[in-house]
């Protein structure tokens, strides 16, 4: 046991601890599941230890792998990026949920699912063969079904949960069909061996299409996105932050890993990613413009941000230029921070204005009117988050979008440059729905909900402040995350065989 590499502990600790978090919370059911909450926090805190060891190990010895029987787990820079994102965000979310979930019953399930979700997402990044990738992916889906439908007495949450479940189940079945085609054709499931064995075959191209559709459902590629706004808006706010900040990105990474194994089958993967990127930007931005509910608006903006990432990745794969991939993965990290901040800040307002009063009404933009006077920190956090998402300098979102755009212009191809101009225009368009949020927050006259609003618990402000500071600091000093994003971009391009 002692000679297991650090990254195995990184994914084992949360997974082994999950049943204990549940049991401890279930058995010592006192004062609103205080014990389960602390158990989850301790587990995630302990997981940071193997994380640091894994970072050091990766830095010294390069990518590592571990084989148990026929299952191979590989830990490279991309796995590290996903692990950092999911572990960081889930730690913040557990802190935040202490107050947010305090009136809900049976919180031990919530915390157990959250630790399990963190563990399986770290595992997903480490999967070394296609079937393993699918198994982690399915584990992630199962943990998130339970969290999306956590308000199981609410008709809307059930509707969102069922849409999510059915679409995910179809996606995972399609992925399995793709795996069957790959296995029948190449005789192996190892991602590296497939790339060597894959020839120019129509069946393998079909398998690639099945992977894109199947994993794309979870990554919310338009037109497979219809579950996303419902699930994001109906889940508890901490879970919305996790879904938007990490889960769809994990789906994207799963898709990239599987497509990379089939990189030799077609040379149009880059173009395909760019086409999906354009669709995601347009549909996400246009649908977000007409939203009146804050969480739904943020959910649609996730679609457009997946679009920016896809454009950067597409450019990188098309032009064999690592800058685009690095920019996209940097944007993935920034988006996790900014969208996490946006959902947590919006969730704080939802909590004080509605949830604490026992209502499950959605938070509308009109409810936000004048909120800055009573809740200055939260309002500032939400403003920083949405302005960062809109790409205003000097916030984090500007830096990563800039890097993606620079990569596009460096290709010196006029149609890609036109595409980048289009993406930049989309980024401006997105301010059309972010700005009214900020405007509403700082209005003079207070809405009825704000006047009746409850006091905000301190534990909900701390995560908002921490993430706000992170968004500003990374915007001013982007090199802070370069050690994560740049090697991950190089590792991703390397898996495509460049």
């Amino acid at each position: 046991m002692a000679d297991l590499p650090a990254f195995i502990w990184l994914l084992l600790v949360p997974l082994i601890a999950t049943p204990f978090v549940y049991l401890v919370g279930r058995i010592f059911d006192v004062r609103g599941n205080l014990i389960a909450r602390w158990a989850a926090l301790v587990v995630l805190g302990v997981t940071w230890l193997p994380f640091i060891l894994a970072v050091l190990d990766l830095d010294q010895n390069g990518a590592d792998s571990y084989t148990l029987g026929t299952v191979t787990l590989r830990f490279d820079e991309l796995s590290l990026l996903l692990a950092a994102l999911s572990l960081g965000l889930s730690t913040v979310v557990v802190l935040y949920s202490a107050a947010y979930m305090q009136y809900e019953g049976r919180q031990e399930k919530y915390y157990a699912c959250l630790t399990a979700l963190t563990g399986v997402m770290i595992g997903l990044g480490c999967a070394g063969d296609l079937f393993n990738l699918w198994a982690w992916f399915e584990g992630m889906a199962i943990a998130s079904f339970l969290l999306v439908a956590f308000y199981h007495e609410q008709a809307n949450a059930l509707e969102a949960g069922i849409k999510y479940l059915v679409q995910s189940a179809v996606g995972s079945a399609l992925v399995m069909l793709g795996i069957a085609l790959v296995l029948a054709n190449t005789g192996t499931l190892d991602l590296v061996e497939i790339r060597a064995a894959a020839g120019d075959s129509t069946l393998l191209l079909a398998a690639g299409a099945l992977f894109v559709i199947g994993f794309g459902i979870k990554a919310a590629l338009v037109p497979m996105h219809t579950w996303l706004p419902d699930a994001h808006s109906q889940a508890p706010s901490g879970i919305s932050a996790m879904l938007s900040g990490v889960v769809i990105e994990a789906g994207l990474i799963a898709m990239l890993r599987s497509v990379a194994a089939l990189a030799g089958v077609s040379d149009a993967w880059g173009e395909m990613l760019m086409v999906f990127g354009v669709l995601n930007m347009v549909v996400g931005n246009l649908l977000a413009l007409r939203q009146t509910q804050v969480k739904r608006l943020l959910a649609f903006s996730s679609l457009s941000h997946v679009g920016y990432m896809l454009v950067g990745l597409g450019v990188a794969i098309y032009a064999n230029d690592a800058t685009g991939a690095q920019g996209s993965l940097f944007h993935m990290l920034n988006h996790g921070l900014m969208k996490g901040l946006a959902f947590l800040a919006a969730g704080s307002l939802l909590y004080t204005l509605h949830v604490a009063a026992g209502s499950h009404a959605p938070l509308t933009i009109a409810d936000l009117n004048g909120a800055a006077k009573r809740y200055p920190l939260t309002a500032l956090g939400l403003s920083i988050a949405v302005l960062g998402l809109g790409g205003l300098p000097p916030l984090a979102g500007f830096m990563s979008k800039w890097q993606i755009f620079v990569a596009g212009f460096n290709t010196h191809e006029s149609w890609i440059q036109a595409l980048i101009v289009f993406a930049a225009l989309n980024s401006v368009l997105s301010l059309g729905y972010y700005a009214p949020l900020v405007n509403a927050l700082y209005r003079e006259e207070e809405s009825e909900a704000v006047v009746k609003g409850k006091r905000l618990p301190l534990t909900m402000s701390i995560p908002v402040v921490v993430l706000s500071v992170a968004v500003i600091v990374i915007g001013i000093w982007p090199a802070l995350l370069r050690w994560l994003a740049e090697p991950a971009g190089d590792a991703l391009l390397a898996t495509f065989g460049f």
Partner: protein, 101 residues
């Protein structure tokens, strides 16, 4: 066509039947059944693929894993269906369309 190819094509067709069912069926319990049919097609295709590539052991372990994961999904789906019936008093998916736009 060899036996294995027939099995592979049959698996894909069965999955197609399940997918078609998901598109037309309006009852939540039957939706879960259609999901199950789809996954059963997937299992056939996996078995055929494992046979073609001569890796029976790999195929068996994959199929067992899929069965387990799929059962969990079906259980959650049915639990959600029960809860929908309790809250809304119907299993018709057309009644579940409040979230739009």
């Amino acid at each position: 066509m060899s036996d294995v190819e027939i099995l592979l094509v049959g698996g894909f067709m069965l999955a197609g039947v399940g997918l078609y069912g998901l598109l037309v069926i309006r009852n939540l319990i039957k939706v879960v059944v259609a999901m199950q049919i789809m996954v059963k097609g997937v299992l056939l295709a996996l078995a055929a693929a494992a046979e073609t590539s001569g890796q029976i052991n790999l195929g068996q372990s994959m199929i067992l894993t899929v069965i387990v994961a799929d059962t969990v999904v079906a259980v959650i789906g049915l639990a959600l269906a029960v809860q929908v019936r309790r809250v809304k008093g119907t299993l018709d998916v057309r009644e579940l369309s409040e979230l739009r736009g």
